[in-house]
Symmetry: D2
Subunit: 268 residues, 4 copies
């Protein structure tokens, strides 16, 4: 911390926010996130990064990354039939709550063209029938190198490991349960059958293993024996919107670090 | 509903609270709970129950039960090393929040005699070594016919199916996770490893299958990557106390019905 | 309860839901809400209502009302600059979550015509300058007899007592604080200044006295010293949307009774 | 940050936790809390503090304070009739959750001697009749210079400004409402009358002005029209225990800074 903050201060930067986490005070892995402002940073990028690499990162054997606020992340949103998460993200983006650019919306249904069009975002209908392989191929063509983040905003198709690997961009999924409970299909029905008293939603990075990637955010709402599966779905939609939006915002603001299949979320 | 409320009204009762639930408005199972006051009820118990059975319950093929507020339920509390749930229930009972009588505390540790003694409740130390079978036998001797409810207030031994059957009383357990996530031992460690953002506690009726009985109540607290397993345990203790106390209170007030491994909890 | 359920059962109705509340078990005011299905109800409305009035309501001196599910309530939505509550209600309505008809959107800003138009709902721009009186007059022309419910979806003008009286329809407002804390203007700034650790939102029926009408629903989110007023506003928008939507849905489903400036909300 | 962390690192300390807050990134007040471990710190206290004052604090005009974990804070607990907060704090302290020493319990009621005695803590009965002035005088005699923190664990007497000033120790109070709503007496009755849908509790530093001091922590529970004032009180007791315990723990761990009648709580 002393080394990094010393370097930045000497470079003329004003550190506006800093957060740290150590997995163990004695000898654990140390994580740090600093935000700073620096006049004329654009012109000094290369010099600053090289100098930091040599004088700070190398001696301490740091893994590090500099993210520039001016490099806005390009997002693609994928959705299936339900549009609540999709519309919510588009609206938040229009409102200025999400610091990025929505470059495309893709759906396996031909339902959302008008809604998406009204936000000025290109809409691609990529059906998964007859061939899911072809659909993934077509989506890779649309996304590879075009998107810095892919958000599965209730996209109900399982993406192959091959797709995730070739995409070369992080993928955030919203799962409609409190993971690790109710992995896989139909979690509200399973929740109803188990008789839980709270239902949840979980935003996580998608990995090869279904619903097992690092959790970014979760939340729950109270329910009772009175709620049918349909009503759980309705209540759950509100949860899904909130939880996914928080996860996307934190990712876009570079607040999320992944370590050993867990996330470290630096709120400030 | 018309039949039951009509019968009670004609009997001179004042219905003070009523709640219903139907699993399906067309042809599902119908559940109802009514509270009423009736002058001189003690002397009319037998007559009233027989009359209800014949004129109302029989024609509608009801499963029914009359619980008398004056018949206070006898509770036994079982605990292991941790005393937070045990003390919390004793405090609440002394303060009049739990409408029953604590008739015994049993522990496999010899740690709580002073604490329990100050509440005027008998304390039984029943070690599970060398023989768990002997321990269960001894506990059955203490509990059979003596307790209308057994509360596992962080009792960390698994009770055998044989014990549960011979006990002939409902058993409420507090599990220190948001079931069905993290069944079995060490749920806080598992929660830490999975990186969940909320931890939970679940009060449920104990059944033969571990942590799979009907859920009475659940709640969660927010946590983050910063919390060690020890800290999750500390936070979790508050959850466990609250969730268990609510479940016990609802049971003692005859607010909980079990149907198909789920509970119907009538709050009013 | 016996009289009403008896009457309905004898009329051939199937009671699908029932809820009661008594302000005092001995001699308080008794409230009841029953849902029922009855074949051919449409043709028997008059006969049924008259018969109920004479044989049940009169002897018990009941205040009563029969609401027919087929009579969908007509809603008008009023909004100012912020559109988050407005859009959220329109989305929910289009998705079928709100059992009514949105008949008009009125705003004192000329900002939402495109958004509202895409839902097929008429949009009226009624500026409050130069004359607020004229604006109210114009709105009364649009709403009187046309709307069964008026929702102030972040409409930031104070409506006069005269307007509320002549409107002859209930008005639901969303206030962006946990009432009764922070009545009036700028509640997020006041919350920041007082240093509260949770911010809230409150949906209530509008009455002559500002922010003092019967509360229908409230909820809160956790905040900290780190949140600026802008960030409180952003977090608060999510709260406002959720809380207002619940209140509107409950009202449309005739779940809300008002008694002595408080609400009784029958969830089932 | 660079200066402080540099100084500590050069002194041989291992910084185990650090948190910062700036009221405004450009020119606001900057707050920082660092935890560190340093071999042989006890013997170097004076030297280290002097060196820090001269080489770091003076040039940056810092307000600063070094707190030593080995200097355990002495707490006194004040309670009236209700014992739930008192017992909860004593139990947490015995359990090792509160890093301090409970040096005394004072009550204006003669009810808790046995309970408090079982924790090995001196109990002082200081009645406020006939003279509240005398009671404050007697309490000052017991507390002045003897307590580093005074906790009002449901102490229902208003302490005079003179008492607070002469005490020369911070005082944490638990108020049984969501401040600033329902200041003063009988908040649950006021909550019931206003018809709020959530009740709250607030832990704050006591100041001359009643219930207006800096808020440390707040939380809420959901309630409904069904809850009588008595039931709100019962539900509220759980809230009060949790909220007060968190506030006391944070204070004892030096996590709370006060600035302009607001708190900055550094969780880690």
């Amino acid at each position: 911390m002393a080394a990094v903050s010393g370097f930045l201060t000497e470079s003329g930067a004003n550190i506006t926010s800093s957060d740290q986490h150590s997995t163990d005070p004695e000898g654990g892995t140390f994580f740090m996130r600093m935000e700073f402002r620096l006049e004329g940073l654009q012109d000094r990028r290369q010099e600053l990064e090289q100098s930091f690499a040599e004088s700070v990162a190398a001696p301490f054997e740091m893994d590090w990354r500099l993210a520039y606020l001016s490099d806005r992340k390009r997002m693609a949103l994928l959705a299936s039939r339900d549009e609540h998460c999709l519309l919510d993200l588009l609206w938040r983006w229009r409102r200025g709550e999400l610091p990025g650019v929505v470059v495309a919306v893709i759906s396996n249904h031909d339902l959302h063209a008008d809604d998406v069009g009204s936000f000025g975002v290109p809409y691609h209908h990529v059906p998964t029938t007859p061939s899911k392989e072809d659909a993934e191929e077509e989506m890779l063509g649309l996304l590879s190198g075009q998107a810095d983040l892919v958000v599965l905003a209730r996209y109900m198709q399982i993406l192959s490991a091959d797709f995730l690997e070739r995409l070369e961009a992080p993928v955030i999924n919203i799962h409609h349960s409190f993971l690790p409970a109710f992995v896989g299909a139909d979690p509200y029905r399973k929740a109803r059958e188990r008789g839980v008293k709270l239902i949840g939603a979980t935003a996580h990075y998608a990995t090869e293993e279904l619903d097992a990637g690092p959790i970014i955010e979760q939340d729950v709402f109270r329910v009772s024996h009175r709620h049918s599966v349909n009503e759980l779905e309705r209540i759950g939609r509100d949860l899904e919107r909130l939880v996914l939006a928080r996860a996307v915002e934190w990712h876009l603001n570079d607040r999320v670090l992944v370590h050993e299949n867990r996330t470290i979320v630096f709120w400030d």
